[in-house]
């Protein structure tokens, strides 16, 4: 699968600024300076951060992911940002392969999964706070009376969209004996 992968990184990762771009792969010095640079890059334009087999990684999603992690885990360092980016790419690749195999779930199942997810997440203030921050980055307002229903609707959509990849992982795990 990897051979078929064409990951095209935009300027934000490789060459928008030689100084900042190089810092992703090399020692970046003090993390806050680098993180600030990434945030700057993330907001410079509406273009995608990268493409994975012609599928874009939304700049705003990448930016809000980093912000959420920074808010809960502390200042970002180059390794962290690289790992976050790698996981997003990995997720898209798995999803593409899952789609190719025709995997997916009905919307009703996605609804149940979202309910279970929200139940677990609300148990912990840190997790719930991080989710609310993600929601805010996507234009939802926690103060609104219908915040929860809007959040649920958006997550349902995402659960449906990411289902092929998650199902593919589950199938692979089952084939490997559950490990």
């Amino acid at each position: 699968m990897l051979r078929r992968v064409k990951v095209v990184l935009l300027a934000a990762i490789i060459s928008l600024s030689p100084g900042i771009g190089a810092k992703i792969l090399r020692d970046a010095g003090p993390p806050p300076v680098w993180a600030e640079g990434v945030m700057l890059l993330a907001t410079t334009s509406g273009t995608p951060v990268a493409w994975v087999n012609e599928e874009p990684i939304d700049r705003e999603i990448f930016r809000s992911s980093l912000q959420t992690i920074e808010a809960t885990m502390g200042p970002l360092d180059p390794e962290t940002i690289q790992q976050v980016f790698n996981l997003i790419v990995q997720q898209i690749l798995l999803n593409q392969e899952g789609q190719r195999r025709g995997l997916g779930i009905p919307r009703e199942q996605a609804r149940q999964e979202v309910q279970a997810y929200l139940e677990r997440t609300r148990r912990d203030p840190t997790a719930w706070g991080a989710l609310v921050r993600q929601a805010e980055a996507r234009g939802l307002r926690p103060g609104d009376p219908d915040f929860l229903s809007q959040l649920t609707a958006q997550l349902e959509e995402s659960f449906v969209r990411s289902a092929p990849g998650r199902k593919l992982v589950a199938e692979i795990r089952k084939e490997a004996g559950g490990d």
Binding site: M73, V84, R120, R123, D124, Q134, Q154, S158, V169
Partner: protein, 180 residues
């Protein structure tokens, strides 16, 4: 009996054994058997990791796990303490989520004594998949340690493995200290 100008008296073997036993018993009385129990770090830990979700970037995933530790110590002389029956167990909840299977990873048991001597010993199991809300048998260690010194501290460490679908995929180190 006189040999080389010195007088030797034959001792009954049984008497000699009795005398030695008495000596040991006296010392044992001075350092009675004591059971240890974890007094810090024992309990429930909530943790948060992040799962990539298409259309959202990353969403937080909440995990909780509980750990309990026990150990018994027995001072067998003024300089040696026998540590046995160590157990380290608990549960990880949930065991399977968007992040993949969760599991505990035990790091090496690390011991040091009052004299500054350090002892490191591995566990029988370095990690296992833990079913939700079950104590994990594989976390048990029955290894025994002989420690020098007059007081001991035991330190158990573990991490939570989230699988490879989340960030970070390994949780922070949890340490449980055992006091004699």
């Amino acid at each position: 009996m006189i040999l080389d100008g010195k007088r030797y008296e034959r001792e009954e073997p049984s008497q000699n054994r009795l005398m030695k036993t008495r000596q040991v018993s006296t010392r044992m009385l001075a350092f009675p058997i004591a059971n240890s129990r974890a007094v810090s770090g024992d309990g429930y830990w909530p943790e948060v990791t992040y799962h990539p979700l298409e259309g959202w970037g990353f969403v937080p995933i909440y995990y909780g796990h509980r750990a309990n530790v026990n150990a018994s110590t027995r001072r067998i002389s003024s300089y040696n303490v026998y540590v046995s029956e160590q157990t380290f167990g608990g549960w990880v909840y949930p065991s399977e989520t968007e992040c993949g299977l969760s599991a505990w990873i035990l790091t090496q048991a690390y011991w040091y004594d009052a004299c500054g001597a350090h002892y490191i010993s591995g566990w029988y199991s370095t990690g296992t998949i833990c079913p939700p809300e079950y104590s994990c048998e594989n976390f048990r260690s029955t290894q025994a340690f002989f420690l020098g010194g007059f007081s001991i501290y035991g330190s158990f460490q573990s991490r939570l493995w989230y699988g490879n679908g989340c960030f970070p995929n390994i949780g922070p180190i949890h340490e449980i200290r055992v006091y004699p």
